[in-house]
């Protein structure tokens, strides 16, 4: 085992057997569930008279449909109330822990798992949500699954999977001023394409990755799926262990920290690990990245011109033409100055405490542009509480931002937070698909949280680095 990747090692430790299909049956160390993709799976269990096999390794929260304004029950929207009630019933019947809104622990599933120490290196983690790749930031093997697979995991504690190839993405150098983890992952997807990662798991490495805190690593792993890779991970290191030691799980089980650390160390990719592919990106050459189109791969540096469809590979030209028509952008222009109507600071990509802190630094002492409605939706109740205690809520509210309760919110428009008509939104979320934010004519521009803050203030896409110079005058 001297030339194995973390992926190989964690896979082997969790492999139960090879199924007749050639797929491996993998044990699932943590199954996270939420209200949108699990009710049908529980329904299938009932139809087959099956029970939840490993309730102690399952954890629930509510995030997609939860209102972020008035959370009193019953929820104003009947469908949301029904989904919440169904989840409550299912977890009660099965004896599954539930971080519900009354617990103070509720939040986006990919924020609360790491927060509570449920997410750990060397675990297999699944959830009926494609952004489960987020948990790979801790050196876990984490991927999204569909509802029939949720049924499998609930009923058996395992999932059937085919082993993937591993691509190492090495981001060298130091990120420039104003450049964040979000820009790194948008650049990776731009270069490798939205389907470049199909069949691969991404291992993120190199100085620019290793120097990131856990939140930055989560932002990167989070969007692996946007590049087609079902999972992405970072090898665990001291930064990871420092985070873990502070979590509930290890505060409550301190002896486990010392017991598990050798395991965490043992599953790191070996120095001479063999990869199916290696890609190197110079992190020091990056600038803030924004999207101009309707896939996350349609990104550019803030000072770069929007490409002409003819310059792109043949199979991307048609998509680019339709995207430019939808977004109403012209090749040759930059995205700087693109007028926005909404600023959304939230989502499992960028709604953790450091994201809000950095954005608040930009916002402090400034005002949201009069034509912009701006909102902050913290990733979890704990993020919200800490941010409020630190005074971030006041900073945002004084600037004219709406400060909401935790949830997925306008990332996918399943609650009341939606774009209207053809509104353009500067968004810290992960997908700019047509219709994604609740309006089929809505226009989404993805960017990092500080860039969202700058756009909110200026009313248009703005290079946050220029804004900072203005502050110092």
């Amino acid at each position: 085992m001297s030339d194995s990747t973390l992926y190989d090692k964690v896979w082997d430790r969790h492999k139960v057997t090879t199924l007749p299909t050639g797929q491996d049956q993998l044990f699932v160390g943590l199954h996270l569930i939420h209200e949108v993709t699990s009710p049908q799976a529980f329904g299938m269990l009932r139809e087959r008279d099956l029970e939840v096999a490993y309730p102690e390794l399952t954890h629930a929260t509510v995030d997609h449909i939860v209102p972020t304004a008035d959370q009193s029950r019953p929820y104003e929207e009947d469908a949301a109330e029904e989904m919440m009630a169904e989840l409550e019933q299912n977890v009660r019947d099965a004896g599954i822990d539930f971080s519900d809104p009354t617990s103070g622990n509720q939040g986006i599933v990919h924020v609360i798992g790491p927060e509570q120490g449920l997410t750990q290196p060397g675990k297999t983690i699944v959830c009926g949500d494609s952004h489960t790749s987020t948990h790979g930031a801790f050196g876990a093997l984490a991927f999204g699954i569909g509802t029939s697979q949720i049924r499998d995991v609930l009923a058996t504690g395992t999932v059937a999977m085919e082993k993937q190839k591993v691509r190492k993405i090495e981001v060298t150098g130091e990120l420039g001023d104003g450049v964040e983890a979000k820009d790194v992952i948008l650049e990776i997807i731009r270069r490798l394409g939205t389907e470049g990662g199909v069949g691969y798991v991404y291992e993120y490495a190199g100085e620019a990755i290793e120097s990131l805190g856990m939140e930055g690593r989560m932002s990167i792993c989070n969007m692996s799926i946007e590049g087609g890779a079902r999972a992405g991970y970072v090898n665990p290191d001291e930064t990871t262990y420092e985070w873990l030691e502070e979590t509930d799980y290890f505060q409550n089980n301190p002896e486990q920290f010392a017991e598990l650390k050798p395991y965490w160390e043992s599953i790191r990719s070996d120095d001479d690990a063999e990869y199916d592919d290696v890609v190197t990106i110079d992190g020091s050459s990056l600038e803030p990245v924004v999207t101009w189109g309707t896939t996350p791969g349609q990104g550019i540096g803030i000072s770069d011109p929007i490409p002409s469809p003819e310059e792109l590979p043949a199979d991307k030209q048609d998509t680019a033409r339709r995207a430019q028509e939808h977004m109403r952008v012209e090749p040759g222009e930059t995205m700087e100055g693109y007028e926005i109507d909404v600023a959304f600071l939230g989502s499992c990509t960028n709604a953790r405490l450091p994201d809000l802190r950095r954005a608040a630094e930009i916002v402090e002492g400034r005002q949201v542009h009069e034509d912009v409605r701006a909102m902050v939706v913290p990733g979890s109740q704990r993020v919200q509480k800490t941010a409020e205690a630190e005074g971030l809520k006041d900073v945002f509210e004084e600037a004219g931002f709406d400060w909401r309760n935790a949830g997925c919110s306008m990332c996918l428009g399943m609650n009341e937070d939606q774009l209207e008509g053809d509104e353009a939104c500067a968004s810290s979320s992960n997908r700019n698909f047509i219709g994604r934010q609740g309006s089929k004519d809505g226009r989404t521009v993805l960017m990092n949280p500080r860039m969202v803050a700058a756009a909110a203030i200026e009313g248009k896409v703005t290079d946050v680095r220029d804004l900072k110079e203005v502050t110092t005058v």
């Binding site: 139960v16 199924l19 087959r48 096999a53 949301a80 494609s130 509802t147 896939t295």
Partner: protein, 212 residues
């Protein structure tokens, strides 16, 4: 315990085609999130491609799913990276409930293809030119029969048989009728427990007693 579910073998799918053109058609386009505020998959078929099919006031737009000549079609022909985006099984569920039994395309997003497999829907692939030719043929021949032979990895239409690719595990699962993996994996419960016991992070109290 009555977990015996009959799983049909899907070695062959026949029907007429429907072309859905465009790369990177994501799951938000296949089924917009607002239609996912439900606790079952029933009735999702009518919402497939909803925002591409209907305008502001629900007036029908030009889309193959709205065309009379494709209403009985069951084999969808798509381009590259079809089904990218979210893990929502609502997407293939909506297509299946509309009437789709198999999809032929240039390429598929991984989670989407896995979700299709879990429903017994083959996702078979061929190169760009082959797909475009097939889409053009379907347009000309909306009543023309297409036969997808999953086991032989071929598609036959208009008197011609072309080679396609079916992922090995998918082919085996469909052809042998083991694409619904719940009962199969449940039969390995004792090995599962052993795997769990050998993992340092799983505590004994998190492993249920052997009851079955």
């Amino acid at each position: 315990m009555s977990d015996d579910v009959e799983i049909p073998e899907v070695d062959y799918v026949s029907g007429t085609g429907i072309p859905i053109r465009g790369n990177d058609i994501d799951t938000d386009q296949i089924i917009p999130a607002r239609f996912m505020k439900v606790v079952t998959f029933d009735g999702l078929g009518e919402f497939a491609f909803f925002d591409l099919r209907f305008g502001e006031n629900d007036e029908p737009k030009e889309h193959p799913f709205n065309e009379q000549r494709f209403q009985d079609s069951s084999i969808m022909v798509v381009n590259s990276n079809f089904g990218c985006g979210s893990s929502r099984e609502h997407a293939p569920q909506a297509l299946m409930r509309w009437g789709i039994d198999a999809i032929i395309g240039e390429s598929f997003a991984a989670i989407f293809a896995g979700n299709c497999l879990a429903l017994g829907i083959p996702t078979v692939t061929a190169d760009t030119e082959t797909i475009q030719e097939l889409q053009a043929w379907v347009d000309e021949n909306p009543d023309g029969e297409i036969d997808v032979d999953v086991e032989a990895e071929t598609v036959t239409y208009g008197g011609e048989t072309i080679d396609v690719t079916v992922d090995d595990a998918q082919r085996k699962a469909l052809v042998d009728g083991v694409w619904d993996t719940t009962a199969l994996m449940k039969s390995n419960a004792s090995e599962v427990r052993k795997t769990a016991q050998d993992l340092p992070y799983v505590r004994d109290d998190q492993i249920p007693d052997a009851a079955d």
